[in-house]
Symmetry: C2
Amino acid sequence: MTDAQDIAVPPATPADPLPGFKPLYRQVRERLVRQLIDGVWKPGEALPSEQQLAVTLGVSPGTVRKALDDLTAENLLVRRQGRGTFVAEHDHDRVLFQYFMLTNDNGTRSLPESTLVSLEKIRANAQERNRLALAARASVWHIERVRTVDGHAIIRERIILSADRFPGLGDRIDIPNNVYQLYAVTFGVSVARAEERLKAVAATPEDAKCLATTSGTPLLEIDRTAYALDESPVEWRLSRCLTEDYHYLSDLR
Amino acid sequence: MTDAQDIAVPPATPADPLPGFKPLYRQVRERLVRQLIDGVWKPGEALPSEQQLAVTLGVSPGTVRKALDDLTAENLLVRRQGRGTFVAEHDHDRVLFQYFMLTNDNGTRSLPESTLVSLEKIRANAQERNRLALAARASVWHIERVRTVDGHAIIRERIILSADRFPGLGDRIDIPNNVYQLYAVTFGVSVARAEERLKAVAATPEDAKCLATTSGTPLLEIDRTAYALDESPVEWRLSRCLTEDYHYLSDLR
DNA sequence: CAGTGGTCTAGACCACCAC
DNA sequence: TGGTGGTCTAGACCACTGA
């Protein structure tokens, strides 16, 4: 067969409207992402084999492979030789290594425990609407937590979520430590990536109380926006961290 | 031809000593990296074409391509369609986007100007020897600079380098703003990647003087170790940044 | 126009895993 | 043992660049 520059459209899917010519493996990638968004395969489940996907999509195995390689590099899929290709889960390790960069100065990494301070639903202010791309009179959840390692409070965090996107979240008695798994399993929202903006700030009196330190102590403020598979903002999280015995690790490459 | 599980060793290069079986494209990658280290192709220069490399190395074009793809993903090479594959340079854009994460809160990015404060050669202390993997009585350069944007001092930085690896550096009248280009062009040392550890600290009186602020002001401390192509530590850099109008941008994905 | 990287295909065999 | 991903090969054609 020679170049078939577009995927033969199988069942019912709105074909890309003359996209200015994307490579085939790009189109395959986007088809797969859309199916991930639609929940065709859930986190932890296996995709069809490369061979099957190639047949289904009417594309050569090499092209499917390239698309899967890309998605794996983006941490959306996990490949296990001899077993298959799986939808990435927000398990302990992924959250620890991909979404938690605070490291003990002695080099060890661990996820702090969380203690819920408050959980309320309020009308979103302008900044919150902007960060989460919400409509004019939308509401949001405010989750306040203190996070501890070995009984030492090191992080004070506030999480802000669209109340529409996470209905009934406030009725939950327990907010698990790993909220990204909660988002995925209970609300069908998978966090695909995040951006963090870091500043050094002075502890407010309230910070000082939560973190057992003194007002004015320098804290590392982490301002995170997390995005879903469709690039919509899912979560706005503001953390303030004591960095006397910890540091934020960033790899430049 | 069927699988040739090892590269045919052309001229004179010590063949890998039974590596426990690395994939061919890995071996190709390592051969290429070694040639980069040896300066066979200098930053900005073009490598031979994929076709030529394949013939030279006695490997199929697809295998060469995979190795080049990996090196490109690591920012060691740059590919330009229709032109060739080039050794990555530490030009303004690379330094700005790969090695300078401080961003104005309004979203603009730019490299601050540098003002040299002091440059001296001293005996390395234990911590410096440890960070730079130096021998017992080695010496180091200390470069102190203040960095400004629009006349505002926002960063105070100290750079520590092995005096042996950068001979005669102290005789230079000018230390350019872009030191990584200096390392590469003048000393043949290419920085390949770096790790940064971030903390919030209180400004010392000296910090306060350099940055036109008050003692105790929260500063973002960036502790960077930069590594060469052979993974040896090249530079230890300690920066203290005013983050009232700036933030450190970190992508989680 | 010739030369380069970029895409796509097709098929072989290897390494690993579960049964 | 059969199925999966991982590697390697071979060759066609496309897209881009510069002379």
